[in-house]
Amino acid sequence: MAITYTSGEQVEVYRFSIPATVLIPLTAVFLQAWLPLRFPFFSIFDLPLLVTIGFATARRSPLTGLLTGSVIGILQDALTHHPIGLYGISKTVVGFGASSLGIKLDVEHAGARFLLTIFFYAVHELVYFMISRGLVGLRMARGWPHECWSGVANAVLGVLIFMLLDRVKQRT
């Protein structure tokens, strides 16, 4: 029941206020940089990615989704010492894909969100791997078990974050 095709009229499109649009991604990037200092295990999460997916699926606009992903990704890149664009490209693709999929699927249910997050986490990691390996020459040696557990962990956290975003989004 959760993942069903819905017609265009039944899909609700939401928007976020300007303060929420600015502060939520900034907060996500900040927490991503600060929390691993105190809790090293937190580095397996990708809060900016979850916020990108949340924004994209709520707004349901591919254009807005890809631009949101691009900005959030570039901001995340700027804090690392790698070239700017690795996370930018990955999250641009995720933002576009999540918003495109959000038009066609009902993503209000927790189960749908869980699966959606796992899927786009995998897409994000794949794109990041290809870009970093192919263009920059970085070596990524994380194994499949680590990626699987990271995906599940991010999906669980994503469901919680989407519930928080539900309180902030506004109907258009």
């Binding site: 900034l26 990037v29 900040f30 991503q32 940089a33 600060w34 691993p36 200092l37 090293p40 580095s43 397996i44 591919p62 254009l63 890809l66 631009l67 691009s70 570039i74 901001l75 995340q76 700027a78 804090l79 690392t80 010492h81 790698h82 070239p83 700017i84 664009g85 690795l86 996370y87 930018g88 490209i89 641009t92 693709v93 576009f96 495109s100 870009i131 970093s132 263009l135 920059v136 020459g137 970085l138 070596r139 990524m140 040696a141 994380r142």
Partner: protein, 385 residues
């Protein structure tokens, strides 16, 4: 136009991706140390780091108030000062080691220059990069405090990394376990040199050690000074695993001495001085004098047996003055030999992270014991008579 409208989203997606790939390509091609920091990085760092600093300050202040005033008031301060006193006394003991003096004399013969960490600055860790692929930290000192790129960052336990980028009030430190990090390293006992690099999983590996060499687990790894960032003799870590690697080199894993996952305060080496070792002798030191010092001493016979006694070999302490090494000057006397080079002699960084200049600390170019073993033979051959 109809096509443009129909595929507008895809066109914008391709355009944005292309622009980012182009930007990536330009950055990768033009990577150089003299490249100025991109404005987007400055904006992102300026947006995030003030909040990190504020949070760390609140956390530290609250902890200080509790620990210093409400909880075991005064006891912690006393404990801290006693620990510092013990550390100072340990450093004094090492300093007076005769092996360190001997190594210094030999270096003087070969005209080696010694490096001294003459100034450090305490800094607090306020944030990380937020990515498992980028192992770096942000500290709360930047250009305004005199931090410059490629300054070494250490703790009392061992080295941490180097300053990669400097902003106005914060700096990015690249950890030694990052893939793009490289540190010149040397094994303490075997004196084998290699390059310490980070792996993609966050471990530290010692590379470029030939596979026919023997490296025991548990051996200490020190900085070799060859990278021009870290002075020689600082503790890096301990060898944990040695296995045959690819090509001609061993696969050596090193456990860093500093806990890179739980760093709160670090020291930035802001000044390194070089000077040539100054032995005491006025003329050239003869190899025979150096060897004579190593001979066991024969205590002088009591007075009543002196008349018929044959003078024994001179005691090392009574060797001719021109071969006796100079007492280490006070400036260097605050320094430490190799074992103490593993811990910084600077005072523990304050919890508020205030900059702290420290007294000069000498880093022994060679660990004491290893320098003592094979050298005299070559010194005997090289020293002019």
């Amino acid at each position: 136009m109809d096509v443009l409208g129909r595929y507008r989203n895809l066109i914008v997606l391709v355009g944005v991706l292309f622009a980012q790939v182009l930007g990536l390509a330009v950055q990768v091609k033009r990577t150089s140390d003299s490249e100025p920091t991109r404005l987007i990085r400055v904006w992102a760092v300026d947006a995030v780091t003030p909040l990190e600093k504020a949070l760390v300050w609140v956390q530290t202040s609250t902890g200080n108030v509790w620990h210093n005033y409400f909880y075991l008031r005064g006891v912690r301060a006393e404990n801290r000062s006693l620990k510092q006193q013990i550390e100072r006394m340990s450093l004094e003991q090492v300093r007076m080691s005769q092996d360190a003096d001997q190594a210094r004399r030999l270096q003087a013969l070969l005209a080696f220059k010694e490096q001294f960490i003459s100034a450090t600055m305490a800094a607090q860790v306020i944030g990380s990069s937020g990515s498992e692929q980028s192992r770096s930290l942000y500290i709360d000192k930047g250009e305004g405090a005199g931090i410059k790129p490629d300054m070494a960052v250490i703790t009392a336990d061992g080295i941490v990394g180097k300053v990669l980028r400097v902003y106005s009030s914060t700096s990015l430190v690249l950890l030694i376990n990052d893939q793009s990090s490289g540190v010149g390293a040397i094994l303490e006992r075997s004196r084998l040199q290699g390059i310490l690099k980070g792996t993609s999983t966050g471990e530290v590996a010692l590379e470029k050690v030939m596979s026919d060499e023997t490296v025991p687990a548990g051996e200490l790894v020190l900085t070799s000074g060859g990278d021009g960032v870290f002075p020689k003799g600082l503790l890096v870590g301990t060898v944990t695993k040695v296995a045959p690697g690819s090509e001609l080199f061993l696969n050596i894993r090193v456990r860093p001495a500093a806990n890179l996952n739980k760093l709160e305060e670090v020291l930035v080496v802001t000044k390194i001085d070089e000077r040539q070792a100054q032995p005491e002798q006025t003329g050239a030191t003869r190899a025979v004098d150096i060897l004579a010092e190593r001979l066991p001493t024969v205590p002088p016979k009591p007075e009543n047996a002196e008349k018929g006694a044959v003078p024994g070999p001179p005691a090392p302490s009574s060797t001719s003055s021109d071969a006796k090494p100079k007492t280490v000057p006070p400036e260097a006397s605050a320094s430490s030999g190799a074992p103490a080079a593993r811990k910084t002699a600077s005072s523990a960084p304050s919890s508020s992270g205030a900059a702290a200049g420290t007294r000069a600390m000498k880093v022994s170019p060679q660990p004491v014991k290893a320098a003592a073993e094979p050298k005299p033979q070559s010194a005997a051959q090289d020293t002019p008579h």
